[in-house]
Symmetry: C2
Subunit: 471 residues, 2 copies
């Protein structure tokens, strides 16, 4: 039986083979990342030159190490990786991350080399992540094992399993600099010579640190096993998948990228859905859906209350919900209508979607929004609320304490916020609301798209529950 | 015959009835907008109290005015609007903007009142915009006649015709604060008691200041006329339309908003397409497509070269193009392949989509992007280029002069840019590139969506040209 993945995610010691004293080199950045995220295990840089790297003593060879570390990260060219890996296994190291590219994704020679590593893994039982991976992050362990300069990564409840290195490189930098959610485990699968998506999904599926799992895959290494695992995990937490290579031309590009032979998209689609996996279609959803799931509760159903500062936005968002996103914009209860009346101008009967403008001109934006949001959240027919704030110097600006207050008072109803108006206020609202647990979206459509995924996650979990009760 | 719309867009004098000295009131903000945009015509505020508003002498009544101004803007409650309008016509004023809401969109009484205004227009020939409009902007004339605080509006080549006031209110504030394009004419149609979308489209269609027209409509007042006008205008410039109320529930909301009875969407769809009108489906497209059309040339065809800092992004964007956006990601010419080889790592053959990462690790981001962008732009098979930059402190940052240089050297091929990495660099790239004529998009998908519309605009114009040659 294969050893499980604890040594990747909870290593008490890490060896970095190919560690470098030269700033700007991957072998230097990985040490920097480990230090700046305050990895608390034992750290062993290996470089034939010895000396020190960022204050850490360097070992000249793997055989010199004082122990078999739990994990080794090999930041070496493809040509040197196999030999170093052999030395690791001789030392007794049981888990290794292989950063080098230049294997099966490039040519036959690379494929052959990759085959030899697979053989070594089978023979020695060493577990391999990669090759052709940017590395992995395991923030509950303060472990940031990526060769890309990252800085301090925010710890959170989202885990990424990706057949791309982006989530341990530039996309993580985007998330860190522009969003307010953090990550638990991030795995760049690379060429999947050994560790694959099914196994990592199984791990993060039972990981208490992970609330939701987002996958980017270009191929399934063991499709049947993946479905088995997914069926199990989706009973407990959301699993969302973007499958790259869903078109012929995209699949061609995927071969160059990760040597993936794309499975026929239509064949896997239905099985994935049955397994409770929520499909996404855009790269950006990997960030926007993650944010929504990280910060807000899942809605109980697919009805949404909409507040907008304009009739046109209200109309367009309703169209979007009903036409594309399988969200309903329900009529409000009679008692909600009455509550809304208190902040309505005379003669205007506010409905869902709520055009808040007339009310705001009379009562001021804050009161109009606060009272209307409260009324809609009280409504039993409404499972979630998307509120588009109007933010200008003259019509009001953050802090929007009342929204955080409403989020606390309605913990079962997600509130998503978008804005229309001046950029600086939109940014201030984001900076204020997201750390308080209310996700915001630059463009209103993004809020509804994210909600669409959250609804599907909930529905998948409920279907699972029902199947169990019936079974 | 009805008088044309020159008096709305090119008025040599403007009367504001309901002008106010009280900051925060619509009647004050409109004067402020006219002044801060340096309207150079004669300005006549009217208020029974007289005095001065922001240094401009106030007239106590319409009859006191020294002349019949070209345009009157009535910032009055619904109840007072009809009487003031009568006084305007008695004075000889021939064009009026009616700001008040509370007409047909509210109740029967409002509908009746609206009917009386329509009658007055028929009898006197006065042209009416509204009621229930935020106003209009005509930046070639420095005219910003909106009751919403706006500040200095950037003049540009985009015209909006909207059955919503948003483009003379908060959405304009968004554009002004977050984007780098300007507007020529912006019309909030309101309830369309007289002036309608067909007539305004005709006006901006022959307006040399307008490069592209974006419409938001919830209904067509004269569908046949609209199609006639559109057929003519789309021969010369792009006309893009978002139709609100395309679902039953959205249409219900539209009734509350502008009293629009939504036409059956499927009936009009085919006719609009034949007339060369490009349909949009999201509110946000009204901004993103406008930006692309304002800043960059139209592509000659639907092939796109893609540069991405990651294989996954390259794959996903290719999928998006081919699956949803009717864009093709073509194979590159042999000579382009050879050019790309100069910045490729050994053993890697760069293809379209171009994963620039391996090249950037060897040659540095700037050289890799510059050479690869140049090679792809040289390729006769490529009509447009979307480039996703990787922007972090360590891997490179603006200024990106070479991109502006390439845009100048390839004036027939649009270059759209998106970024992945740190927010501050993405913002700096936007601030640098957009004023230089290269549109940027926060998320990469947005660039391709905008390109999709630009391609459709070009195709519509070409279809028109072909029809003429054949006819």
């Amino acid at each position: 039986m294969k050893r499980a993945l604890e040594k990747f995610f909870e290593p008490r010691s890490v060896t970095v083979v190919g560690a470098s004293a030269t700033p700007g080199k991957g072998g230097n950045d990985i040490i920097r990342n480990l230090l700046s995220n305050e990895y608390r295990g034992r750290l062993y840089p290996v470089n034939p030159r010895g000396g020190e790297i960022l204050g850490i003593p360097v070992f000249k060879s793997i055989s010199d190490l004082p122990e078999a570390s739990d994990l080794a990260v090999l930041v070496l060219p493809a040509s040197a990786t196999l030999q170093a890996l052999k030395e690791c296994t001789e030392k007794g190291i049981q888990a290794a991350v292989l950063v080098a590219g230049g294997f099966a994704e490039v040519d036959n020679q690379g494929e052959e080399l990759q085959g030899e590593m697979a053989k070594l893994a089978r023979e020695t039982g060493v577990r391999l992540l990669g090759p052709n991976t940017s590395g992995l992050l395991s923030m509950p362990r303060n472990l940031a094992a990526s060769f890309f300069p990252l800085g301090k990564i925010p710890r959170g409840n989202i885990s990424y399993i990706a057949q791309t290195g982006n989530f341990a490189t530039h996309t993580m930098r985007y998330i860190m600099s522009a969003e307010h959610y953090g990550v638990a485990r991030v795995v760049g699968l690379g060429n999947k010579v050994d560790v694959d998506e099914s196994e990592v999904l199984e791990y993060v599926g039972s990981d208490p640190e992970t609330r939701a799992v987002l996958l980017y895959l270009e191929s399934f290494k063991r499709p049947r096993r993946f479905l088995e695992v997914a069926r199990e995990v989706t009973r407990r937490k959301p699993v969302l998948l973007l499958k790259g290579g869903s078109t012929e031309r995209g699949a061609q590009a995927a071969v160059t990228h990760t040597a993936a032979m794309a499975a026929d998209d239509r064949l896997v689609g239905a099985a994935l859905r049955q397994a409770g996996v929520v499909r996404m279609s855009k790269y950006t959803h990997l960030v926007l859906a993650a944010k929504a799931l990280a910060l807000a509760p899942l809605p109980k159903g697919r009805t949404v209350g909409i507040l907008a500062p304009s009739g046109a936005m209200a109309v367009c968002m309703t169209d979007l919900c009903e036409r594309e996103l399988n969200l309903t914009v329900p009529d409000l209860q009679e008692k909600t209508q009455i509550r809304l009346q208190a902040v309505s101008p005379p003669f205007i009967r506010m409905r869902n979607p709520v055009d808040i403008w007339p009310s705001a001109t009379i009562h001021g934006a804050e009161k109009a929004y606060r009272e209307a949001m409260h009324a809609v959240l009280m409504d039993g027919r409404v499972d979630a609320l998307v509120c588009i704030l109007m933010m200008t110097d003259e019509t009001g600006a953050p802090p929007l304490d009342f929204i955080l207050d409403l989020a606390r008072r309605f913990p079962e109803k997600p509130i998503y916020v978008s804005c229309s108006g001046q950029k600086k206020h939109m940014e201030a609202a984001k900076a204020f609301l997201e750390p308080g647990g209310v996700p915001t979206f630059w463009f209103a459509e993004e809020a509804f798209e994210a909600l669409h995924f959250a609804v599907q996650c909930r529905q998948a979990m409920e279907r699972k529950g029902r199947q169990e009760n019936e079974g």
